[in-house]
């Protein structure tokens, strides 16, 4: 087998050195009954060409966004990834390295993480950020848990604009750990509704902007009210590029900012791997989950970086750790920081503006269709429209016409608002794409 270097001669010689007659001698501790004589019932080894052919077979049975007008967002976004980024993350030294526990031979990864943490803090308007979480949804759950630790309270309020997958994930992960999650009803422009549920037992409220309907919300007022109750404001975003154009949560009083970083440097890949961004205030530093890279010096007094404050983590603190997370989303964070370095302020602002303009064009095109109504008052690159038919049926009908035209809100939250379609436009959409979508939607709706 091409990945296995030992030859039969090697194996014989090594067993000799070990003093074993056969490989079976090395498995003596395993109950005979539990050892299989033969092979499990699965296909035998295949060559690279055969496996590649099989993989192409799976790929051909999917409709690639490259071959259809594409307008799906709702938590994952299609953006152009520079070829240099995808090349760099495949370099052996980044791709096949382990967690940088030996800093003297991991400065490449560690300096990158330090730069990543700084970029995330700048982007969100916060003071510190960690080295990444699995994705935006688990980062949201960790934020709820952290707020409960910080405030020593256990009630967390979820806005009606929070991405339903984030709400469910938070309930599953934080709920099991004694946090009580309270829902505010779905509302296109109702982030402030959370205040109705706010009280002195509240650990935190979680709001999202732009929210799942695309609505952008001013958070300062909410922050004041929340702080007045001694609770924390957790602000969520799913479209990182929006922060190139809109006011960051950190500038509006958020205490913890979490979000999905996939839009910057990470492929759609059917939902994962993505990269969770987690930022907060310096004073809460020691309550953060996940890994942190910090600056120090080496024996020659030369600057270097190490993983630090590990007393928060499971491998040191075990049952008392701030989280059970170990492996995070390192390489996606690497891609994020590389793409962000290429963008810089100039590139990110331009990219964000182009996304917004495309979305405005899309809103004009869809809004012009009779029976279709744009519902989102203020948006970045995605918004909700009301459709004359059930939205899930509309999506299917569009797919039949070769158009990937958004997501029915009811797919994210069963039963609710079943005539609401969530659509998104990015810099990858051409005028032709938008026109094709409008034509198809018109047919489907009439």
């Amino acid at each position: 087998m091409r990945y296995l270097p030992l030859t039969p001669d090697d194996r014989r010689a090594m067993l000799g050195v070990i003093g074993a007659k056969s490989i079976d001698d090395l498995y003596i501790d395993v109950p005979k009954a539990a050892q299989r004589a033969g092979l499990v019932d699965l296909p035998r080894a295949q060559g690279e060409a055969e496996v590649e052919r099989a993989m192409r077979g799976y790929a051909k049975r999917n409709l690639s966004p490259a071959n259809a007008p594409f307008f799906i967002g709702a938590g994952a976004y299609r953006h152009h990834i520079p070829a240099s980024v995808d090349h760099l993350i495949q370099r052996s030294e980044f791709l096949t390295a382990y967690t940088p526990y030996q800093p003297e031979i991991a400065q490449g990864t560690l300096q990158s993480i330090f730069e990543f943490q700084t970029q995330v803090a700048i982007l969100t308007g916060m003071e510190v950020a960690n080295a990444s979480m699995y994705d935006g949804s688990t980062a949201c759950a960790e934020a709820a848990l952290m707020a409960a630790r910080v405030t020593k309270r256990n009630k967390v309020i979820l806005s009606g604009g929070l991405h339903p997958h984030y709400a469910e994930t938070t309930k599953t992960m934080a709920g099991a750990n004694g946090v009580v999650l309270v829902d505010s009803p779905p509302a296109i422009d109702g982030e402030a509704e959370v205040l109705k549920l706010l009280d002195g037992d509240t650990a935190a409220v979680i709001v999202q902007s732009p929210n799942v309907f695309g609505t952008i919300t001013e958070l300062s007022k909410i922050a004041e009210a929340v702080h007045a109750q001694g609770a924390l404001l957790i602000a969520v975003f799913t479209e990182a590029i929006s922060l190139g154009l809109i006011e960051p949560p950190g500038a509006m009083g958020a205490d913890i900012v979490v979000g999905e970083g996939q839009s910057i440097g990470v492929a759609l890949s059917f939902g994962g791997p993505y990269v969770g961004l987690f930022a907060t205030r310096e004073k809460f530093m020691r309550q953060m989950p996940g890994r942190l890279a910090g600056e120090t010096v080496d024996a020659d007094g030369k600057r270097g970086f190490v993983l630090t404050l590990s007393t928060r983590e499971q491998h040191i603190r075990r049952a008392k750790a701030t989280s059970n997370i170990c492996t995070n989303s390192g390489l996606c964070a690497q891609a994020f920081t590389m793409h962000m370095t290429l963008l810089g302020r100039k590139g990110l602002e331009r990219l964000a503006l182009l996304n917004h303009e495309r979305a405005c064009d899309l809103a004009d095109a869809l809004g012009a269709i009779s029976g279709v109504e744009v519902l989102t008052p203020r948006f970045f690159n995605e918004f909700a429209v009301r459709t004359p038919k059930k939205a899930d049926a509309v999506v299917e009908a569009l797919a039949k016409r070769g158009v990937l035209g958004g997501v029915a809100y009811s797919r994210l939250k069963a039963g609710a608002m079943d005539d609401v379609l969530l659509v998104c436009a990015t810099e990858t959409n051409t005028d032709e794409d938008i026109a094709a979508f409008a034509v198809a939607l018109k047919e489907v709706c009439s």
Binding site: M1, R2, Y3, L4, R11, L15, V17, I18, D25, Y27, V30, P31, A34, V40, L42, P43, A45, Q46, Y58, R61, I89, Q90, E93, L95, T96, Y98, P100, P103, E104, I105, Q107, Q119, V128, S132, T169, N177, E247, A251, P273, M285, G294, D298, A299, G301, K302, G304, V306, T308, I316, C326, N328, S329, Q334, T341, L342, C360, P377, F379, R411, A414
Partner: protein, 505 residues
């Protein structure tokens, strides 16, 4: 390192500052079309706060990261013997497959009618995992091992609640040797953790287990092969005891590489086990992640697997995303680490049932070979019998030399090797856990053994000072962890250490 240079670089090793020290925010490495100037619809929420993100042009950015990369060790550079981490070869075929048009670029919320290939691939991966483990159900969505542990423990919690014992069974047993994620996960599910003792031979003490079992026990979390690299001989009996006491048996499958294709957890009484695709099935570690931690379940726990589920209705595959019987809720947005599913399946298909069994056997053979070669020079607390995929040593052979486990590690760095796992598991003093994996050749193992033996001999010959000075040939000298933790600097600020220092050196 002697000779000082003006540039700060040393031959091919390039000095490299932080991006914040190199670039202003006036440059960019991307070219984008001119905006049209449409009136914005942001409702007055345009960014007012400064956005001082530095930008580099493409040639500068390429250099920055290529230079940084050369300060990393990697599997592709040499043996990476981190015990319990299974650092094996990462085939580039898998990277290629994960990037294919139609796989790498599809959206998680596309209508399922347009992603039948993706669902079929997930089903195929599930089939392989269930066949290999002999378990009847699997949940793919957990994003790493620890997330898989959470998935499994939440299923146990749900099963107990369904049995009406949710409030009464709150205690989870785990050996002292368990990985930190085990107790951390149990706690995250609202359980208390009770540690059980190990026997002198590094395995679970059945008496300690029996003593701790009781009507308030939710279950046992046990790694097998365990974190000492040993197979728990009495695993069946352990499982039976736990079941008899009304608890569930969660198996940490991080060390599955030692038995894949040869021993099926399903035959050992396991109720739930996560599989780190980034270990046994070789998806790249990427400097810390991402990984994937699918969980296989027994009949007893299968109903409590999380959402979403894949169902087939007359030949068409679809997701059940909202509710499905007694399913526990979502563990994450969407359906998990597709990019890792693709890589893992490509890896499995490449090996096949024959190759995967060979994987386990070669991994175990390599570990035992190193154990045999190193035993005479180091101290192997459980070295009388064979080990599984990794060999554990303690620091008793360093007694009185003034050299510690961490010094051995740094000395290995100068010899061109990544150190083994240090100070874990906690059951032995100054642990050194060595896992070579099956993708190392005999020549590479011998080269490593010779270097480590020489280091051990030097240590015994007593040259502690030299050890404390190590590493001397790495890109950095030994780094000051204490300083980092005492005065945490977690981000660059204009007042950070002067870049001159970098060149100064």
């Amino acid at each position: 390192m002697s000779q000082v240079t003006v540039s700060g670089s040393r031959g091919l090793l390039q000095a490299e500052p932080l991006i914040f020290e190199m670039a202003g925010s006036s440059r960019t490495g991307v070219d984008l079309p001119e905006p049209k100037g449409t009136a914005n619809r942001l409702g007055g929420l345009k960014r007012k706060a400064a956005l001082d993100l530095p930008g580099l042009t493409e040639p500068e950015a390429m250099r920055h990261y290529v230079r940084l990369s050369q300060r990393n060790y990697a599997i592709d550079l040499g043996l990476f013997p981190l015990g319990s981490c299974t650092m094996k070869h990462n085939p580039r075929l898998n990277e290629k497959a994960a990037r294919m048009e139609g796989l790498g670029d599809i959206h998680p919320l596309q209508p399922t009618s347009t992603v039948q290939g993706a669902l079929a691939l997930m089903e195929e991966l599930s089939h392989w995992l269930m066949e290999l483990t002999g378990m009847p159900a699997v949940a793919l969505s957990p994003k790493a091992g620890a997330h898989g542990e959470l998935c499994g423990m939440l299923a146990i919690r749900a099963a107990l609640i369904a049995r009406g014992e949710g409030e009464t069974r709150k205690r989870v047993l785990a050996p002292i040797s368990s990985h930190g994620t085990n107790p951390a996960t149990a706690a995250a599910c609202g359980f208390t953790v009770d540690e059980i003792d190990a026997m002198p031979d590094g395995r679970v003490d059945l008496n300690s287990l029996k003593a701790k079992l009781g009507p308030d026990v939710a279950g046992l979390m046990l790694t097998n092969p365990n974190t000492c690299g040993l197979f728990e001989r009495d695993v069946k009996e352990i499982a039976d005891l736990v079941h008899a006491a009304g608890g569930y048996f969660y198996c940490d499958g991080a060390n599955y590489n030692a038995i894949v294709g040869r021993v099926r957890p399903g035959d050992l009484g396991v109720d739930a086990m996560h599989i780190n695709l980034h270990k046994t099935f070789s998806t790249p570690h990427g400097g810390g992640g991402p990984g994937a931690g699918p969980v296989v379940f027994s009949e007893a726990l299968a109903p409590f697997a999380p959402l979403p589920r894949i169902v087939e209705r007359d030949g068409v595959l679809a997701f059940e995303e909202h509710e499905f019987g007694q399913a526990t809720g979502r563990l994450c947005a969407f359906q998990g680490q597709m990019g890792m599913y693709i890589r893992a399946l490509a890896y499995m298909m490449s090996h096949g049932s024959d190759g995967l069994r060979q994987v386990a056997e070669d991994a175990v053979l390599n570990a035992n070979y190193l154990l045999a070669r190193l035993k005479p020079y180091m101290s192997a607390p459980f070295g009388d019998g064979p080990c599984m995929h990794e060999a554990l040593f303690d620091d008793s052979f360093l007694e009185g030399t003034g050299v510690e486990t961490s010094d051995i590690a740094k000395a290995l760095i100068d010899e061109g090797y990544h150190p083994m796992t240090m100070y874990f598991p906690l059951v032995v003093h100054g642990a050194m856990l060595i896992e070579p994996t099956e993708t190392e050749s005999k020549a590479e193992l011998d080269r490593f053994a010779n270097a480590l033996i020489a280091i051990a001999e030097r240590a015994k010959a007593g040259d502690a000072a030299a050890f404390k000075a190590a590493p001397r040939l790495a890109p950095s000298r030994r780094l000051d962890d204490t300083r980092a933790a005492r005065q945490p600097k977690l981000r660059w600020k204009p007042d950070t250490i002067d870049p001159a220092r970098v060149a100064a050196e």
